[in-house]
Chain length 275, copies 6
């Protein structure tokens, strides 16, 4: 048996987490900063080059129609695939700590392991953690770029997948050549980016992650209303309301600032251990 040497595989990942409702935030944050950041840094500092958490902005009026998550988005940059040996990381001295409270808050079904790829979210029910691996660089830039000096940024980050049986190429044509360009026509859209979700590793059903940037939520509300009136339901879609994806199942998202709440590898220096 040869020693296992992880392949060079630089990637970004995005991980959206939802809690039952805002009343869970104190317990969820306590888990994050008192337990999870230490656990995470101890585990992956040797092969993660950025680890940052963005707090979800409050949901504006129409946010739930777009499968919006309400807790955090965590961004990692990896040098290797942490799941390349198996579905859960192997060969580590310490495992992560998940309290019962945390499992309740994020409604993890018992007996299934954490973050399984196959859970299905629903509007009223469970919003599973959406964990996606992405190329290091954005694949599509429909509008932009923007400099930090240009003004405030209200980032709508969303992931979608196409229903089973839909022909991907056709659906992609619509997304790339109709939907995104429609947004870009609006002056209040300051940037639009998208990448396909990678297949290795795959930890969620989503096909594509995109971002459309505004200066604030009022402009987003107006934009989705306008684009909804311009872009008709495509033939392949089975969900009737704009954006024609079932929220929390085929379409999830989160609203973010451009700056993370915490750049953990830089800021955090608590009980960090060997691995």
């Amino acid at each position: 048996m040869q020693p296992y040497e992880p392949k060079w595989q630089p990637m970004r990942s995005v991980l959206m987490v939802s809690v039952r409702d805002d009343s869970d935030l104190p317990a969820a944050y306590r888990w994050l900063y008192k337990h999870h950041v230490s656990d995470s840094i101890s585990q992956f500092a040797p092969y993660v080059t950025k680890y940052a958490t963005y707090r979800a902005l409050p949901l504006s009026k129409s946010a739930e129609h777009f499968g919006t998550y309400n807790f955090i988005m965590t961004e990692h940059y990896w040098l290797i695939d942490p799941f390349s040996q198996s579905d859960v990381p192997q060969g580590l001295a310490f495992c992560e700590h998940f309290s019962d409270e945390y499992l309740a808050i994020t409604r993890q079904p018992t007996g299934m392991g954490l973050r399984p790829t196959k859970w299905t979210g629903t509007k009223e029910g469970f919003h599973p953690t959406a964990f996606m691996f992405l190329p290091m660089f954005w694949e599509n830039q429909f509008k932009g770029p923007r400099s930090i000096e240009d003004g405030p940024n209200y980032r709508w980050q969303f992931a979608h997948t196409y229903p089973d049986n839909v022909e991907k190429d056709v659906a992609e044509q619509w997304f790339l050549n109709e939907l995104m360009p429609a947004f870009c026509e609006l002056p209040q859209v300051t940037q639009a980016l998208s990448s396909r979700v990678l297949n290795n590793p795959r930890k969620s059903p989503f096909y594509r992650l995109s971002e459309i940037w505004f200066e604030n939520s009022l402009e987003w509300e107006e934009a989705v209303k306008t684009v909804a009136s311009w872009v008709k339901k495509p033939a392949w879609a089975s969900y009737d309301e704009f954006p024609y994806f079932e929220p929390y199942k085929d379409f999830v998202g989160v609203f973010l600032l451009d700056r993370p709440e915490s750049d953990h590898l830089k800021q955090f220096s608590g009980y960090v251990t060997t691995r």
Copy 2:
């Protein structure tokens, strides 16, 4: 003329800031982290020993009845009184930068200077920045203390003042011996603290700052409902609804985690200058 030597005057300060609504958050945060933290550290690092910002938790159902603020609370610990020479700091090379956007977001009246003591907040209108200086140590601990290990903390921090013409001693009796003890009878209250606001320096009308801690917002909602049914309107009060103070005018507050979003003096290291 003798050289001015600032008096030893160790104090904590609490500064609550509200924005018009959640859509202002991207611009408000941009001002905070891109401009204000640098300005502040450059100015007061030699005599401030802690400078931390707590993001306001989302407003739960009844929050507006209690004058709740929606942006941030900033906590400082001072070794001196920064206003001891005059109403605005003197003898500094650099002044702070306030963009027009920031002034609009926080609805600063033009021509009045920033953070004047005498502005008056109203429920529908303006929620002036509430800036209070406090003793280093809490004066009253009605319930507690609590250890970090004990569980999540949902801190209700609020300031109140008594209407003009009310006899302070009588009103204080009610607050200290009726209202606060009523809250402490509830099992979901994990801690209750209070201090009088200092008069030197005085930058807001509030008489007292208090905190009542819960584990989450559901328990707070239930608690205010219960205590409202127990504690009747005192004779001196002019506002009819519990807690018998006019929200945003005589009573303001904010809901906080126990951990700041950013411990600036420790974490921030951007364009910090001489002063």
Copy 3:
């Protein structure tokens, strides 16, 4: 009632902690770094300007005859007296967490509170935490100073008190004019320092804290042997063996490097909260 404003009172403190034996180190260190450093920084960061821990060096052959402690020495620099309001800090939202394991490891008697001034250590039994407040600057420098470039430093830090009924002035003459000068005659002594322990606050029975520096433990062993042969038992002493103080009761010490293991305020950035 006037608001309490802590007096300007800059001090150093030294806190020596012993565990039952070396097998307690994993649990003791876990308590220190996983719980206590967070608790401490959260509590006193606004008025402590240095907080550092030095790991006790392993006990050399004769160390136990000199009441040597085996875990850590923690050094603080304070701007105020944290015990000025009462025997235990008041007015804090969070108290420190002491696990049962920690209480067992440090043999804390139940029902007495932590760190009481009046416990008495014994050679075979309990070695109470020795917590002393000292002037910011050393009062006596018998030999020195030394520059960091001059070589390695093996610091023998020890505290002593005189038995009851001994006339302090007489005993002090002996300590300052006989014992310390005897050590300073040895070429292997590179520095000798001493200060009286302050009375406000007083948290241990010790009268004086001293340091005699060597380059390593072999030189210390030789030095105590030599000085023991030179300096006879003074008339007032009741303990027969050199240094004529009962170890762990009237004389305690610890062997240290010149550099702390951790300069906590600088290095640690874990779950730090409001206070």
Copy 4:
């Protein structure tokens, strides 16, 4: 000639260092923190992602029978093999500084260069620096994993090699299927891990690095006594006493906490230069 581009080769390394005896610690630590950490970071920061030092815990009663080291274990995570061009790093502007005192303390034979692969340790004589490169992830996990919340960790980290002429496969069967499982039967063993030492680069004779974790040294003492009574000397072994390897020659180890004393890349910021 093509420019040399180091191959992607992510690895962990473990480096155990012993000093003559505890009296060397002040000089050894001075060399480490005053000279070596700067030298090291300056040299390899661009391709080392973690660099941490663990202080050896004091040797318990039976430790020397197991070839225990008494100074430090340093752990690195590398992206490349620093020895891929030659036995000593090439192409660096600065070399590391080793004082004569350090060479004496670690008993480096003169005229042989530092850290040669072929030195042989002996119980009474020299304990050469044991420098091993390992896969990023543990290859065998006999027991575990463990979460940081589970309790204190007393890590017995040890390396062994089989005597010449021993058939590796047979010996490995014994180690993997007899010795390690025997330890795992004990309830006081909380974790057991092992990996083969890599051959590229090879800087020591050891074949395998393992860790068995306990909560403290008393449990280790008891465990080795128990397992010694269970596991008989294998036919291939030439050393009679348990664990049937010659200490300091074929078997070396160190006792560690789970948390490093210093996470240098994070904490240290002294005279760091170009390379």
Copy 5:
């Protein structure tokens, strides 16, 4: 004898250092970062709240007529007077290290101790270290303030003293009411500040420290030419050329950016020891 408790005495200090010429910079910087910053932080971290070094900008054409220094300006903020016990700090375990090379570079006369108050600088000869203690806040602001957003800052910082026998009040009138206002009339002057040097502690002969800010050195050159033509030699002056003070003796200065090269307490974390 009462224990010595340093008085509360918050101050800023400014320390200008010159080397023989630019060829000394590598040795001077090596002394600063390899030796002095560690020494300094170890010594005064408990009572210094800011310690920052600004690199002197290159001397423009007329700089030497104004006694310009060519190495660094170091700025400290103190809570106490470090010289209150005696001319050199007392009661410290470690003294600072000054290599012979450093003494040669800064032309320290042998046998006089470092930084004596009474040395006299001359244009061709020695430029003694100019060490001044100042109030925390500027006493005079002739023009300003300025925000960090307003543009680049080229700070001319200078200290002057009046020749013996000159009546201070008269000379001060000229400085405050003629010279500084003349500069402020120029549009290229963006800020002008001044404070009297404190007498306790006094470590240099200078009476007043001032700053006049420009956007670059060309504007400074033009400004001094213009003001020289406007402001005539006052009756009390004995030096004929503008600014009517003998350079390097009665008038010294340095040109600085607004941002220090290194904010040592924040950035540096090398071999920092006990004191």
Copy 6:
């Protein structure tokens, strides 16, 4: 289309920047620390492992004959080639901010994009940014290495290219076997290093980057005078004066300390964003 995965390509890069003259330094530094460091870290932190800036030392007498730059040298260590997708980085949300003032200061021709490979510098005119990618390790070490303890370091870093039509092998023979060895004969040369500039990516015309180290500028002045008298103009050279390359066109350089002014990834923590 496959997702783009950047190739493993570890490299160092060196970037020399010149400003019109010293009067530009305040504006140039303001751009660097107030804008550029944030922009850069936000963009490349996930694949840059070191990012440090060295301030150019003041130009000594003969410096301009050697094409010396006067602002900064920035050193990066990359894990990937940031230009592998195209001439300017693609797939980034934020672009870098270059103010008009910065463009003027560095004399960027309008309409050509920043840092084009093909600009040509001239002695009197424009000194284009010299951006070179290099192997991680030095290819040639003519003299050295040196330890940090050995003394101050005055690094002459220079890049050269051979005129068109010159046969590279012949010219290289001269450089490697005549010029560099001549310098190494001088006792004041403490180190000499060189590497070929990589072709992928290529962002400047230079063929080779070298460093020759001295203890100060006086020794450099003497060395270039001596070597100029020893080494005659090679047949292939078209520029008559030593070192026989046209300054600012075929030969550029900068004088540096061994320690960067700022190790940005470690020290800077301002407005750092997603990318």
